[in-house]
């Protein structure tokens, strides 16, 4: 049945919206501070320390050296205090803290403790400590990532928007190539125009969601990052495509010039968003040595929402493109202007 695919995209997006708002975040550790008496306190997010009192174990790790913390004191569901019996000479100054809890599983905070005044000897090895392995907490939840925390939910909006933009830009590219193959204005020109218009809209939405995300994770609305700069310039290039179209009156000339420019814009997109970020330092997850999000969805919780989000945005964008095409066709037919019929 014609058009039965159209509601699928929006329905998927509604599912994604519900899951994004409703799925809880897994527990994690936020920070470790020094408290009175030289003890340390870790603060957690989504943790249940009070529910696991008596079974909490805290360890400190530096490289292969592990030591058990002492006098573990649960102060609240999210605050845990402990004492660290560091020897006079330590193998290194920086120590990770990990907390084992029967309720929350194993929680790690890297570089939690820094001993600025300590005497170090890298050859020093601490006695081996038996560290139990615990299974991760039950239940469906998004993984906790330091610094990203709750904003991981933006993953379901920001990244799929860009995926959809790539698809629409690719469609515009193919349509432009087909337009160049014929001397007169063809339906491909309208396809390219509609796809590029949606690509610009998706690009702007991607930039806005990315900027909001940057504000929370990096503390600023914009940073000098290759991925961000590439995204902005690519969106500007597709905007330039529409400016070019508006500058030309003759339809055949407009179609050809726009198609030529679209080829350049797509090559620019590939260079700026797919090639250059892989070779430069970047704050973006997955680039410049930063871990990508795919290393954190071992329980597939993100996949259950992310992949439907990608599909939902692509289908919705395709529906939007089709609406634009049909609007243009109806306008042309209603004005009794000759126009090549849509395939």
């Amino acid at each position: 049945m014609k058009g039965v695919w159209k509601p699928v995209g929006p329905l998927l997006l509604l599912y994604v919206a519900a899951m994004t708002a409703g799925v809880p975040l897994g527990p994690g550790l936020l920070e470790c501070t020094v408290v009175d008496g030289g003890a340390y306190a870790v603060r957690g997010h989504g943790t249940h320390f009070a529910d696991a009192t008596g079974t909490m174990q805290v360890f400190l790790r530096s490289g292969s050296n592990v030591m058990r913390a002492e006098n573990v004191d649960v102060r609240s569901e999210s605050v845990l205090a402990f004492e660290a019996p560091f020897p006079d000479t330590v193998p290194a100054r920086s120590w990770d803290v990990f907390v084992l809890s029967e309720v929350d599983g194993s929680l790690l905070l890297e570089n939690a403790v820094f001993l600025s005044d300590a005497v170090t000897d890298s050859s020093r090895a601490l006695p081996a400590v038996d560290v139990p392995t615990l299974s991760p907490p039950a239940g469906f939840h998004f993984p906790f990532q330091p610094r990203v925390e709750e904003t991981i939910r933006n993953l379901m909006w920001h990244v799929p928007l860009w995926f959809a933009m790539f698809v629409l830009a690719g469609m515009a590219f193919v349509a432009s190539i087909r337009q160049l193959g014929v001397p007169q204005v063809s339906a491909s020109d309208e396809h390219a125009r509609a796809a590029s218009a949606i690509a610009v809209g998706l690009g702007v939405a991607g930039l806005i969601t990315g900027s909001i995300w940057a504000r929370f994770t990096w503390g600023t609305w914009w940073v000098d990052d290759p991925q961000l700069n590439g995204a902005l310039v690519t969106t500007a290039a597709y905007g330039g495509y529409h400016i070019l179209r508006e500058s030309v009156d003759r339809p055949a000339m407009r179609a050809r010039l726009a198609a030529v420019y679209n080829v350049f814009a797509f090559v620019l997109l590939v260079i700026l968003l797919m090639i250059m970020p892989r070779f430069s330092e970047s704050l973006h997850p997955g680039k410049g040595g930063n871990p990508g999000f795919n290393t954190y969805d071992l329980d597939a919780s993100l996949r259950w929402v992310f992949y439907p989000a990608v599909l939902g945005w692509i289908l919705t964008a395709l529906w939007m493109q089709q609406l634009l095409l049909r609007m243009a066709r109806v306008r042309a037919l209603d004005a009794a202007k000759p126009m090549t019929p849509l395939p």
């Binding site: 058009g3 919206a17 939910r153 529906w319 939007m320 609406l323 049909r326 109806v330 019929p341």
Partner: protein
């Protein structure tokens, strides 16, 4: 803790603002989808009229 609980703790962006942000985003998204549905129906109606007027188009 899920996002709804997170919001109620007023940790995110001060009290109530996050709820406003989510509400606005929700309205924009739902409104946009409703507009697309309306556009789809209207276009179908117009195309039917044009086809009735001129079956060749």
């Amino acid at each position: 803790m899920n996002l709804l609980g997170f919001l109620s703790e007023s940790v995110f962006f001060g009290s109530g603002k996050a709820a406003v942000v989510l509400a606005v985003a929700g309205v924009v998204l739902v409104g946009f989808l409703v507009w697309m549905l309306w556009a789809e129906r209207r276009l179908s109606r117009l195309e039917r009229k044009i086809n009735e007027r001129d079956p060749r188009s």
